[in-house]
């Protein structure tokens, strides 16, 4: 055997060995999972009462895998790694779980607090932040290992602890969040490394219940339960402080009871306007996106929970609080009219559009079903069985500020 033959035999042998190793790894997973799968059409559905998630794909609209072991997933949410391979799931019981969407398994899990509400991933994808009710504050973890990087207890000026809501990521490696009990907005700036620089904005208003950041990452807005109005922070000019917007939007009318708090995340920005759920009113507020002045309001079926724009901005889809949570309404942005109303079943909890908006996935909790609609024809394309489904999160969120 000359040197050349020896080399090629060795090469062949290493290919064969590599092949075995690869096949072995694939078999070890025991499923059809392939390491070569893309992740841009993947996502997950939360089964809130069972502590499970469904990994789904939106091309064939199918469930790839059901995964358990997440603890209490009531009010759970998720963010995605910048390569869209991993999802970070924030459970109600303080659990933070990292899931490999390709391999279909949990890769890391930590119990980081007693009672938590949501999270965010940093601009560079290296930090995952979780907002907590108990103990109130924000904890920041290494996205790779889930090791604790920073602990930011949220306390007002007198040292009273506060629940944290409306946590979002912002450009410049910042996290922004609101203190529910204290009525403050805080910025935690991680541009300098793992020790954050904290900027506090006290006195922003009574009971901020959620916050959002505009899709361009410029404005952070906190909704206020305790008053008619919202608090806005311009992140291009944080030194100018927090301004009140839409003050007195209810014009002194008596508020209706709110049977579920609206969500501001995933809010609707379309046609130079913003569409926000009013609180204690069966209306959407329409706000000019440049001046931040109210330019209209749209009467809707009930207390809006989510008002989300189709990615092209032509439609706004709205769901509602108990007891009117069996209905979905679609608003045409060009005419500002409700053009479609559905009643898919009781307890419609969440809507998520595919990245280019041709489909919308809708969770219908009490029917144990997720419906997929064509957003142009309103035809139902699929009905997917899921036990008490709540949040639906698609991997396209990986590349969106604030999601």
């Amino acid at each position: 055997m000359n040197a050349r033959t020896r080399r090629s035999v060795a090469l062949c042998l290493s290919f064969v060995l590599f092949g075995f190793a690869f096949a072995g790894a694939a078999r070890a997973e025991g499923t059809e999972w392939r390491a070569t799968r893309g992740t841009g059409d993947l996502g997950l559905i939360v089964e809130r009462t069972k502590g499970r998630i469904l990994i789904i794909e939106t091309t064939r609209r199918s469930v790839l895998k059901r995964l358990g072991g997440f603890g209490d997933l009531s009010h759970a949410s998720a963010v995605f790694s910048r390569d869209q391979r991993y999802a970070y799931i924030f459970g109600r019981d303080g659990g933070l779980t990292k899931v490999d969407l390709v391999a279909g398994r949990i890769v890391e899990r930590v119990m980081q607090a007693g009672n938590s509400i949501g999270g965010a991933i940093s601009q560079d994808g290296r930090l995952v932040a979780v907002s907590n009710y108990k103990p109130g504050g924000v904890r920041v973890f290494d996205a790779e290992t889930l090791k604790l990087v920073a602990d930011i207890p949220a306390k007002d000026e007198d040292g009273n602890p506060s629940k944290v809501v409306g946590l979002v990521d912002a450009p410049g490696q910042r996290f922004v969040f609101s203190l529910y009990d204290a009525g403050e907005i805080w910025i935690a700036d991680f541009a300098g490394g793992t020790k954050p620089k904290i900027t506090r904005y006290p006195g922003i208003g009574t009971l901020p219940y959620d916050g959002l950041i505009t899709p361009d990452g410029r404005a952070y807005v906190a909704g206020l339960f305790g008053e008619d109005g919202l608090a806005k922070l311009d992140l291009w000019h944080p030194e100018k402080g927090v301004a009140r917007i839409l003050a007195g939007y209810g014009r002194g009318e008596k508020k209706l009871p709110v049977y579920k708090m609206p969500h501001l995340e995933g809010w609707a920005a379309a046609d130079g306007k913003l569409f926000l759920p009013a609180i204690g009113r069966h209306e959407l507020l329409v706000v000019d996106a440049r001046s931040w002045k109210q330019v209209g309001r749209i009467k809707v079926h009930g207390q809006p929970i989510f008002a989300v724009a189709r990615p092209d901005g032509r439609q706004i889809w709205v769901n509602f609080a108990h007891p009117r949570n069996d209905t979905l309404q679609v608003i045409d942005v060009a005419t500002m009219k409700i053009i479609k109303e559905f009643k898919p079943g009781k307890a419609i909890l969440h809507m998520e559009f595919t990245p280019r908006g041709e489909q919308v996935w809708v969770s219908v909790r009490d029917a144990d079903r997720v419906d997929v609609y064509d957003t142009r024809t309103f035809e139902r394309l699929a009905a997917i069985k899921a036990e008490k489904p709540s949040g639906i999160f698609l991997s396209a969120r990986a590349h969106k500020t604030g999601l």
């Binding site: 009531s74 109600r92 009672n115 009710y133 009871p257 049977y259 708090m261």
Partner: protein, 112 residues
């Protein structure tokens, strides 16, 4: 059957017999299931599915211990003005609210 087990069985039977009398005003079985579902799923939006609290306070036995039943019933029926707690009297009767308070104080034993 050991004596202790017999005794506890007898006790269980007594409790079972006594229960209907104690709950003369208790909702029907169907309604009870409905109320518990609503409690977990919809009250749970703020108080947590396990009732351990969220934006709203915990409703677990340890948190409710020592709190007056009438006050709790009043809060359920009429809400708390200025706070997010809404009034539920449009779909929960006074008797049902009392029943819910007793169940929460004991701790829910429904299958989740």
């Amino acid at each position: 059957m050991p004596a202790r087990k017999r005794a506890s069985l007898a006790l269980a039977a007594l409790i079972a017999l006594a229960a209907p009398a104690a709950y003369a005003d208790a909702p029907s079985q169907t309604r009870q299931a409905e109320l518990l579902y609503r409690l977990r799923q919809d009250c749970g939006s703020c108080h947590g599915y396990t009732l351990k609290g969220g934006l709203g306070p915990s409703l677990l036995p340890t948190a409710l211990k020592g709190k007056d039943d009438d006050t709790l019933v009043h809060v359920i029926l009429y809400g708390m003005p200025g706070r997010p707690m809404p009034p539920w009297r449009f779909e929960v009767s006074r008797d049902e609210a009392f029943w819910l308070v007793r169940e929460m104080k004991k701790g829910l034993r429904d299958e989740r």
